[in-house]
Amino acid sequence: MIKLENVTKEYNPTSPALIDASVDIEKGEFVFLIGQSGSGKSTFIRLLNREEKPTTGNVYVAGKDIVGLSSWRVPFLRRNIGCIFQDYRLLPKRNVAENVAFALEVIGRPKHVIEQQVPAILDLVGLSEKSHRLPAELSGGEQQRVSIARAFVNRPLILLADEPTGNLDPDTAVGIMRLLDRINRTGTTVVMATHDRGIVDTMRRRVIELVDGRIVRDQAEGEYR
């Protein structure tokens, strides 16, 4: 599903963000990307949805080379990739249902599809009761659920999560992880960058560890060491 071949990304030549990374991720895998701040986790994720291009090397998503993808095709790549972030990135003036619907509206989905899919996904993330609340009226965990709903409503092949539990207390984080696990079980490949030792050790999934831009460990059912 995702393949990196000898990928190096330099923002400036003296300290590359990612050095000679080669990774192969199968469909339906759940992968933790761990490492300290600045180790290259976010760069790794940004390379997968073509927010960045590698300086050298190849990136394949769903069997397609995405480095050479022309810019007008990039949106179609991204329709297959859901993204969530530490800071949720919700639109403050739209309510929960509108935030989720927005993701479908801007890719031109018909109204009857939106009216059917938005309640279904809100039910999945457990926010049916709060669909008319504004983001500011929700807790951090609930806001992250909205952002997951928005990322997943279009049923992407891949879900990229950059520190999704970074702003949440441990109990709330567990709830978010359960949700991501459920999404993963539907066959969606999940790549999650995290600092959270407890989560990694509890879930026991594949772990890719980055130090100063190099992959130093790639272990099935790994722990946070």
Binding site: W72, P75, R89, L91, V106, K111
Partner: protein, 300 residues
């Protein structure tokens, strides 16, 4: 498809609403610049029409001295009568009182000037239409009057027309440059308005990119917003042009001061052509501003 269009229009409406003051300012600048631009074209057309009209009936005016004696006037009249039917087609005598009336009308606003003059200081004149309209022939004929007793000067209509022409050309050129400069300013205004609209919506834009909205889907609301500014600006310029045409140009030509401005008017066809041109330029300016704004500030 209808769904998409509705969404894009709603987005555009929201952009404009959030940014209303700047959008209005931008529309006004477009409107004013296009009014000036259009006016310069109207004046140019008017001058063309006036001078074309005059090619067929060149006149010259023999101005007598204010203190010319009746016998001197009679002498000129006798010469004119003699030539009528030969070199001269027709002629009119304008006496002091008529000249004074015209003068008063012409300088109606300037009481100070009117106080310093009187009927007695006005030069009487003969307005002459020669048989041969050729400029050389007119000049040859006119200059024969210059040396006659009591004659102050001979003014050829061609000179007057040339002067009107050059003055109108100056006005036309000045308004054209003001219009072009303001059009440039309009482009920058539209550009700035759009860059602010884009900046104020950067969160939405970021999410649109993230979930895979196509590049055009992101750009179109801003482009429509720019186009609206240009087109509405042009639409408010059109009544301005109609006013210039009616009150400045047509009324000017109706005033019978010297009757030299006769024919200084703009035909309906010309007005339509200029109006369409103004609309076209407004759209063009908006298109340039919009394309520049989305390609520069909207990094999709």
């Amino acid at each position: 498809m209808i769904q998409k269009i509705r969404f894009l229009l709603a987005e555009t409406g929201q952009n404009i609403w959030r940014n209303l003051a700047l959008t209005l300012a931008s529309i006004i600048v477009v409107g004013v610049s296009l009014s000036l631009f259009g006016s310069s074209q109207l004046v140019a057309r008017g001058v063309d029409n006036a001078t074309r009209r005059w090619e067929g009936g060149i006149e010259f005016v023999v101005f007598m001295r204010a203190d010319a004696e009746q016998s001197q006037l009679d002498a000129i009249e006798a010469v004119l009568d003699e030539s009528t039917g030969n070199e001269i087609d027709s002629w009119v005598f304008v006496d002091k009182a008529q000249t004074f009336d015209e003068f008063k009308e012409y300088f109606a606003g300037d009481q100070e000037l009117l106080d310093t003059i009187s009927v007695d200081t006005m030069p009487p004149s003969f307005r002459i239409r020669p048989t041969d309209p050729n400029a050389g022939a007119v000049e040859a004929l006119g200059s024969t009057f210059e040396a006659k007793p009591g004659v102050r000067t001979v003014v050829f209509a061609t000179e007057v027309i040339r002067e009107i022409q050059s003055n109108a050309e100056k006005i036309s050129r000045a308004t054209l440059w003001a219009g072009v400069t303001l059009l440039f300013a309009s482009t920058i205004m539209i550009l700035t308005t759009l860059s602010i609209a884009i900046a104020s919506r950067r969160n939405e834009i970021e999410i649109m990119k993230l979930v895979g909205a196509s590049n055009w889907f992101i750009r179109i609301p801003f482009m429509i917003e720019g186009m609206i500014q240009g087109v509405i600006g042009a639409l408010i310029a059109l009544p301005g042009l109609a006013i210039v045409r009616t009150y400045l140009i047509e009324d000017f030509s109706k005033s019978d001061v010297l009757r030299l401005l006769e024919g200084f008017r703009v035909t309906d066809a010309e007005f339509l052509f200029i109006s369409l041109g103004v609309l076209g330029i407004g759209t063009l300016v908006a298109t340039i501003g919009s394309i520049f704004a989305v390609s520069r500030y909207l990094d999709v």
